[in-house]
Point group: C2
Chain length 514, copies 2
């Protein structure tokens, strides 16, 4: 154990962790997914090379903009780029060379060490929906999100067995001032859950606040030597890196905290309408962004991010769960693995207004693509609705249940003597049945993935019980989970210090809602 970790434990983190572990028994959390299956790859070697060559051409010839950020331009110039005003032309090969110092995987620590996640390699870490200004539930319909909604989502995330990460802005708490809500959000993640979480990126100063709150929770040295936050840095596609996002990235990279460098693309609007054209731009943007993170601090943990939706060219609406989005997801995964970087994409993405069949069709396409496409960090894994405008309580628990299927699928196929089941086949023989045989009795409990939500009852029973659809069953499950929620234990000193930090910060500035 590092000195920092020892000190952290001595400060009470260890005791808190032990108590958390005990209390967490009733809310079983699965370890992050480790794939024992191959990745699915849609691009040939030849196509991959075309994309990589074109991305380098883009960086050198067209260049990327680092807006309102003379310091960034200076760093690029020093690194060997040709900087013209805010336009940075990166010579062929330079960005890729700079990216080489980024780790191929890293551990993000949680305050409960049992909840630590490894991001990269064959792992898949699932985190909930991020960013919606609205929430929806069956009882209350669609409405602006509040801090109370936010806390409910953090609680649901804590209690969701197949969810490994507490996420970040699970919804925008619009009833709290814009310049203060990050404090309440982080405080909620830190105290209502013991899973890992994300930091604020809406201002460099808020990223700094996030680091400082983590220093209270984990200990200062521990934070400097370990990654305790993974935060979302969107690229302003096409090819633009704004000062706010880059300012936050600078804070996090400097403090050894992880950033997802993520082109945010509605295909046909922020990138070409073709899959290969989009992948070229995605790769160029990620190369530039991650290279920049390594200029700030070589070795800073980063994730190759991709958020690409297609577009309904009739209405201009973004569309989700479409085949083109899946192709881009698969292709970007191949590009990320060739760079040796952890990969973020996927999620329970959908455009539907309700957690209905459309939502589930769209979501499941993306969940499957994310699993088979080698995604390492899946943001929006549950709760996403209406193109990301809405966090849905019912969909949160629906999707979270489905994440269990990914765990089972990823485990691959065991073929030991027990799995071969030749004795069972001999015992039962032609015309028999396996329900009572010894092999079934010995294996049935773990043989099949079990839903905690779906209905498998006989029609008559289901009908008598009210013919409930999935949304209704999910609403009942949300209510039950919130009723059963128990806060994980936390070190009283850290708890008090965090509350004090939030109160002081809030008192130090007037509310701003812009």
């Amino acid at each position: 154990m590092s000195d920092a970790a020892t000190r952290r434990r001595a400060r009470g983190g260890g005791g808190a962790a032990r108590r958390a572990a005990r209390s967490a028994v009733s809310f079983d959390t699965a370890k992050y997914i480790e794939r024992n299956i191959p990745n699915f790859e849609v691009l040939t070697e030849e196509v991959l090379e075309i994309i990589e060559t074109n991305a380098e051409t883009l960086l050198e010839e067209i260049g990327v903009n680092f807006v309102n950020n003379p310091a960034a331009c200076a760093r690029w110039k020093e690194a060997g780029a040709d900087v013209q005003g805010e336009r940075v032309h990166i010579p062929r090969g330079l960005a890729r060379k700079l990216c080489a110092t980024a780790p191929s995987s890293f551990t993000q620590h949680a305050r409960n060490p049992e909840r630590n996640v490894v991001i990269g390699g064959k792992g898949l870490v699932c985190a909930p929906v991020y960013g919606p200004p609205f929430v929806r539930d069956m009882a209350g319909g669609r409405r602006y999100a509040t801090m109370e909604d936010f806390r409910k989502f953090v609680k649901l995330g804590y209690m969701s067995k197949w969810l490994h990460h507490s996420g970040g802005t699970v919804c925008e708490p619009t009833d709290v001032a814009v310049n203060k809500r990050h404090l309440d959000m982080l405080h909620a993640h830190m105290t209502l859950s013991d899973k890992p979480f994300m930091g604020s990126v809406t201002e460099p100063s808020r990223a700094q606040d996030s680091v400082e709150m983590c220093e209270i929770l984990f200990g200062r040295d521990f934070v400097q030597q370990n990654t305790v936050m993974t935060s979302l840095i969107n690229v302003n596609s096409p090819m633009t890196f704004d000062d706010v996002m880059m300012g936050a990235l600078e804070v996090y990279a400097r403090n050894n905290q992880a950033c997802i460098v993520s082109p945010f693309i509605v295909g046909g609007a922020m990138a070409p309408v073709s899959v290969v054209g989009t992948l070229t731009q995605v790769l160029a943007e990620v190369l530039a962004g991650i290279a920049y993170s390594q200029l700030i601090r070589p070795g800073a943990p980063v994730i190759f991010g991709t958020f690409v939706t297609s577009i309904d060219m009739g209405s201009g609406a973004p569309t989700f769960g479409t085949p083109e989005a899946s192709q881009i997801l698969y292709g970007a995964g191949q590009l990320a693995r060739r760079m040796g970087l952890p990969y973020r994409s996927g999620g329970g993405l959908c455009g539907s207004k309700l957690p209905d069949a459309q939502a589930a069709y769209e979501t499941t396409h993306t969940l499957n693509a994310a699993l088979l496409g080698g995604v390492n960090f899946m943001l929006h894994a549950c709760g996403w609705l209406e193109g990301g405008l809405v966090s849905s309580f019912e969909k949160f628990v629906m999707d979270a249940d489905q994440l269990g299927t990914l765990h089972k699928m990823a485990a691959g196929v065991v073929a030991d003597e027990n799995a071969q089941a030749m004795d069972a086949i001999r015992e039962v023989g032609p015309g028999g049945h396996y329900l009572g045989c010894a092999h079934t009795q010995a294996n049935f409990q773990d043989a099949f993935w079990k839903t905690q939500l779906f209905d498998y009852k006989p029609f008559e029973t289901w009908d008598e019980e009210g013919a409930r659809d999935t949304m209704t069953l999910a609403a009942e499950r949300v209510e039950r989970m919130l009723r059963d929620y128990q806060q994980p234990a936390i070190d009283p000193g850290a708890n008090e210090a965090l509350a004090g930090y939030v109160a002081n910060k809030k008192a130090s500035m007037p509310d701003s809602f812009t």
Copy 2:
């Protein structure tokens, strides 16, 4: 063109086909899917060999039952099997050797040659739900299926762009006598659609009726020399081949018509609870069944079938769209390809009682697995509900719309100069947008898959229009399609002869409802 085909055309089939082609323009039907993507494979070479070795052990040591079928047992004995009563012990390697005469792909002809499908290779042919005794729609709820429902499903199938096949028992017309309903069903497929279809398997005599009706529609010689039906022969798992199904298979094989030899397995009941154990039994059953078809007529077209669901060990209910079912689907696909046989599995399988989110989650897992798992013939591709007890009108059009995503995904990623879009990236540059650029204008119409069902409207519009969920939108689409339906043209002589055949057959026997 073969002589038979020439004669068939001379008989008026050609004119009918041309008229059908003209009328079909308004109901655009996509060609069956040809995959330009790799297959996803979950089993290693080592595991595949274990399964293949164990399946041969099963056939030799345990054997399979051919029930009430002394002629089959005699054929097996003559072929070299050790027959003890009804139990057929097949020496190691014999079944596989017999299977070698089965074709690796075959063309199933439709009366409109533009609707012909190739089953095997990189193809994927989608056919609708098969077998439910109930139907459900929003207006009428769940009820026993009638012949009128059956006709509606055939019409919907004919008008569904992404559906290549009219299927077989799209629902059980329970208002028609059991011994006569196959006549009405075939008649509906033959006259209300011009897509390929399936024959009856519920009695050998009904298989013979199916062949005779095809001889009227296609011409007798054409039927003997070409495949015009693909029919579903379920194995009575574990390891039992009953005389009814085998009798139907004998009729079809003898007449050069295709059979799907399909173990029908609820895992844990009809096969071991493990994936590898189930695959072993599936392979053994398919080996025995297909070998038997080749004993009837070497070269008879067949399909390696697999229908496996998992089970909820608490209630005993079959479950669908689960990870274990997907693993078996992927694994069986590998086994089928190693035998060089077309492969049937997948479909829009679900256990939900309603076409809601559960139905769509479950369905989409299976549709994705079927596409990536190399399925060549996908029965139940649309309309399946409640574990196969119900054919749902709304789910039929929901799933049929989703099949479009499989077409687009299967097409793979184009990487020509236009797809590389470097000119577009140069034109737009950092901070611009692609909506108006030349490349977008030139490509947007085909760039993205388009739904004909889902809602992408702005929230406010959607809300004002009644906040309709997917089921409601689907119900409206069903109504619209049935209103717009136009019967494809058919040769008047053939039409009259078919009606006469059905009337005569029906008059020749009393109704039986058992």
